[in-house]
């Protein structure tokens, strides 16, 4: 393959079937034994507006979208549905071509639907093609689709053209189409496919670009899965049987997957009036003895601040999911950012605590969602799974065996009726559900309906049986006990091996730190930097509260300097690290990106070399460097 891999970008308008086509393309190649990784870019509207999906395909494992791309399939057309002259989204017919050229790598391929798009509308098109050594294929995909079926099948024609140029065996794609399409649609699609494939063979030099996708071989069964899928399946496998939510991009994906699958396993999903209600419902179900979750994106999560505090005070276990998107306020609904970190860590009043996980990819999202439930129910504390629009929507291949784990119906620290008979009660006959003097700060709870377990759960400070109290001694005891749980959780998490990801040579001179969705991209950048002769390693942190103080301290101590990479403007993760560690201001500098697009590995490589190694200034404004305190 050119540059060792194919990064295929399919571009068009929202509603053109870009997402489903790219998903099938990726799945077919995964079935053919290759590693795949997809990246979505879409506007906050339903029809029209420029959208694209990238499918990166490689013989070797891939962890990010990669740098740029080398194959453009420009479909287009949706824009014609905005016919008003001078309308804001007015004449955008050429956008699938014009919007995408900047990132197309040298020597890349352009396939465009000449039935819909005209390169004459793009200034300097021919010059740019010549300068960059691009290979251009103008094929009337629309007409081919119309001749054999319907116009929407031009997606199939485009995939066929891709196969012809990139030497992808048609059988790979066709067998997937056969699996997914009803026969009535499958037959005409096959004709469209064959016609388009032959057109390239007969009328173009298909071998001109040096692009060839081989067939590979996976050692084991793979699944094509997103972070949102993994969070939902992790919750279901961990015994979560209740979800309440209100739709908000990109959290809606988790909510939807859960809602579609819960009834099948005897669970309950509730779409409710707002996010305050959603989180409160999760608390109500959990209080009544069911593993429950809720979630939202930044703006909706803001409304959950008060139920979150109530969960902490009443020690009601709950898992909340926060899918970050660019903010503040409603921000950019369909664009990723990592700027809700502080919001999630510190929202809610008083001395409040919660556990926060930030999974890096699909595999980790599954495991950490399960871990979040275990911690929440064992320690009776809210646990938050913090992810973002990027890892929520990216599809990647993961071994199916990752999900091959036993379900866990364990409700954590609860008492049985038999245990209640011997448990301490207060003079009123109520169960001392919030006892001061317990191991790890965890006082087991009873569930409504259990004989002998009556207690009052209250958001006010309370005595062991739940009676409201402002007694100073009790107050101190209760606060201390609730805080003690965080230390116990830290010890528990420290016993987990390999949760935070170390990558690169152990004795490296420099370090790069990141959290959540940028981990895979950082790791690819680290590989590239070491290949270039630099000495770099990385640490991807995915436990944010309680913070892995020792592990991170050891990492920072072991290198001369650390570049902290994150998708926000205020260096929130670097700030958290300094706050938790109480030092290292002089050792930590930041590489930030907050323009709505996630980092590409090359940007991290450039940022590192320019700012850390050469002590220079970054060009352009895609990324931003913030030096260490002493610089």
């Amino acid at each position: 393959m050119t540059d060792d891999e194919l990064i295929w970008r399919i571009a068009g308008g929202s509603g053109d079937g870009i997402a489903s086509t790219s998903q099938n393309f990726a799945k077919a190649l995964m079935r053919a034994g290759l590693h795949v990784f997809t990246h979505r870019h879409y506007p906050s509207r339903i029809r029209g507006g420029h959208t694209y999906t990238e499918v990166r395909v490689s013989e070797d494992p891939v962890k990010s979208r990669g740098d740029g791309y080398n194959f453009l399939l420009a479909l287009g057309d949706s824009f014609a549905r905005n016919p008003q002259e001078n309308a804001y989204y007015g004449n955008e017919e050429v956008k699938p071509l014009s919007e995408n050229l900047d990132e197309l790598n040298e020597g890349g391929v352009i396939v465009y639907d000449s039935g819909l798009l005209d390169t004459e509308d793009i200034p300097d098109f021919d010059e740019r093609v010549a300068d960059n050594g691009w290979h251009v294929y103008d094929i009337d995909l629309r007409t081919i689709a119309r001749e054999h079926g319907r116009e929407v099948m031009r997606n199939t024609a485009g995939v066929a053209v891709t196969c012809a140029i990139a030497n992808i065996e048609p059988r790979v794609i066709k067998s997937l189409m056969e699996d997914t399409m009803p026969e009535k649609v499958f037959e005409p699609n096959m004709s469209v496919f064959d016609d388009a494939y032959e057109t390239v063979q007969e009328e173009f030099d298909a071998d001109a670009p040096d692009i060839s996708v081989p067939e590979g071989d996976h050692d084991e069964d793979q699944v094509l899965i997103s972070g949102s899928d993994s969070i939902a399946y992790g919750a279901l496998d961990e015994g979560c049987r209740f979800i309440a939510g209100y739709p908000m991009t990109p959290w809606t994906e988790v909510f939807t997957i859960m809602s579609q699958n819960l009834p099948e396993v005897g669970g309950i999903s509730e779409q409710v009036e707002d996010e305050i209600a959603a989180a409160a419902l999760a608390l109500g179900a959990s209080h009544a003895g069911v593993k429950a979750m809720s979630g939202s994106s930044g703006g909706g999560f803001a409304l959950m601040s008060e139920p979150l505090g109530l969960a902490e005070m009443t020690e009601t276990p709950v898992v909340l999911v926060e899918a970050m998107r660019a903010g503040p306020s409603t921000g950019m609904p369909t664009k990723p950012e990592q700027a809700d970190l502080e919001h999630v860590l510190y929202t809610s009043q008083g001395d409040s605590h919660r556990v926060v996980f930030a999974p890096a990819g699909a595999e980790e999202a599954y495991r950490q969602t399960r871990r979040a439930f275990q911690i929440a129910y064992e320690y009776q504390i809210p646990a938050i799974v913090l992810y973002d629009q990027k890892n929520g929507g990216e599809l990647q291949n993961v071994p199916a065996s990752v999900f091959d784990e036993e379900p866990n119906p364990d409700l954590g620290s609860v008492v049985t009726e038999a245990e209640l008979a011997d448990a301490p009660h207060d003079p009123s006959g109520k169960y001392n559900r919030f006892q001061h003097d317990v191991d790890d700060g965890v006082s087991p709870r009873s569930i409504p309906g259990q004989e002998g377990g009556r207690y009052l759960a209250t958001g006010n400070e309370h005595m062991p049986a739940g009676h409201i109290s402002e007694d100073p001694d009790n107050r101190v005891n209760q606060v201390d006990r609730r805080m003690e749980k965080m230390e116990a959780i830290r010890a528990d998490l420290d016993a987990d091996e390999g949760t935070n990801a170390h990558h690169g040579p152990e004795d490296a001179e420099y370090g790069i730190m990141t959290f959540g969705s940028q981990q895979g991209t950082v790791e690819e950048a680290v590989d590239e930097l070491n290949e270039q002769g630099h000495s770099v390693k990385s640490l991807g942190v995915s436990e944010l509260a309680p913070y892995p103080v020792e592990e991170v301290s050891a990492f920072i101590e072991s290198v001369d300097e650390v570049l902290v990479v994150e998708m926000n403007a205020s260096a929130q993760f670097r700030g958290l690290t300094q706050k938790e560690l109480g030092r290292y201001g002089e050792k930590l500098s930041s590489l930030l990106k907050y323009n709505g697009n996630p980092f590409e590995p090359g940007e991290i490589v450039d940022g590192f070399v320019t700012s850390i190694v050469e002590d220079g200034t970054l060009p352009g404004h895609e990324t931003k460097f913030v030096p260490a305190a002493s610089d």
Binding site: L224, A277, A285, N408, L411, E417, P448, G453, A457
Partner: protein, 311 residues
């Protein structure tokens, strides 16, 4: 043994079984109407033979929110306006529980108004008692959504420019299937109504007039009430939506004019939310909460049924 042996047979009970020993003593002011709700709820629970441990009482914030401190059962004292979403999820999770939610007029019709509307619409099988004293009590006497127009308080020094909320009409239009108003000054009717409300299969809304001797000495709740269901002057069919609507309108006007009319205004036997959800296959037949304690229950593994579409 089931994990929830408190749920089941209704046996003869004494109202004192719901009194939590000597502590804590109610901190309500002498003469407060909230005592009337507590007494009525205890009487109703005893009459229904409910064990304290099969009851879950969810409250909001304010004087009314202390109800479950003085009523001995499982309790969830929540936050401002949020008792209903917590109550309804608990009921969905374990339908065997008798779930009662309670809050004040500010809590229920103000900050929790959105939840009130949607809980009524969905017709959850829970009972909601609103302590309506036309004032904020625990925050010290501010104008509430039910305070009459022109009501003066420290936060409305020129007198309220707003018409008060019409809780009964609002409830009917939102979709509650049992709607009644009673008053603390009428303990017998209050108890009967709460019994009916708990027995009713669907969302029961009881607007409970509670006098506030400290902050709202002018409230109409002190004047003798008329039970419209017993009065020949007010004969109407409370299963007829439009007749009920007219009666509510009259009742709400009368209160503003100084006459207190109470009674059962609307009873609708449409299926509860739980029943509807069960019918379409979105809620299990057996109580969900039981499963976590049921050793025989087979927990499904996700990869068996869901992962195929990702392959």
């Amino acid at each position: 043994m089931s994990a929830f042996s408190a749920i089941g047979e209704d046996v003869e009970r004494d109202r004192n079984e719901y009194t939590p020993g000597l502590e804590p003593q109610p901190t309500w002011c002498p003469g407060c109407g909230d005592f009337g709700v507590l007494k009525a709820l205890k009487g109703a629970a005893a009459e229904l033979g409910l064990s304290p441990e099969e009851m879950l009482v969810c409250t909001g914030i304010g004087c009314s929110g202390k109800l479950n401190s003085y009523f001995d059962s499982y309790g969830f004292h929540t936050i401002h306006g949020r008792s209903l979403p917590i109550a309804r999820a608990a009921k969905l999770a374990n339908p065997g529980l008798t779930v009662v939610a309670a809050g004040g007029d500010g809590d229920g019709y103000g900050i929790g108004g959105n939840h009130f509307m949607h809980t009524a619409r969905e017709n959850h099988d829970i009972t909601y008692i609103v302590f309506n004293n036309e004032i904020f009590g625990l925050t010290k006497g501010q104008t509430s959504p039910t305070s009459p127009k022109g009501h003066k308080s420290k936060t409305q020094p020129h007198g309220s420019a707003k018409d008060p909320i019409r809780p009964l009409s609002m409830s009917l239009n939102a979709g509650a299937s049992y709607i009644a108003r009673t008053a603390a000054v009428n303990p017998n009717q209050a108890k009967e109504i709460i019994v009916e409300a708990i027995e009713h299969d669907g969302f029961s809304h009881v607007d409970f007039l509670t006098q506030c001797p400290t902050w709202n000495k002018d409230a109409k709740q002190y004047v003798p009430y008329i039970d419209v269901n017993d009065s020949e002057d007010y004969e109407f069919d409370n299963t007829d939506r439009s007749e009920a609507s007219e009666m509510m309108f009259e009742t709400e006007n009368a209160l503003h004019e100084g006459t207190v009319l109470t009674g059962r205004y609307y009873v609708d036997d449409r299926p509860s939310y739980q029943q509807e959800k069960q019918r379409i296959g979105e809620i299990p037949d057996e109580p969900l909460a039981e499963r976590y304690f049921d050793d025989d229950y087979e927990w499904e593994r996700v990869y068996d049924s869901f992962l195929d579409k990702h392959k």
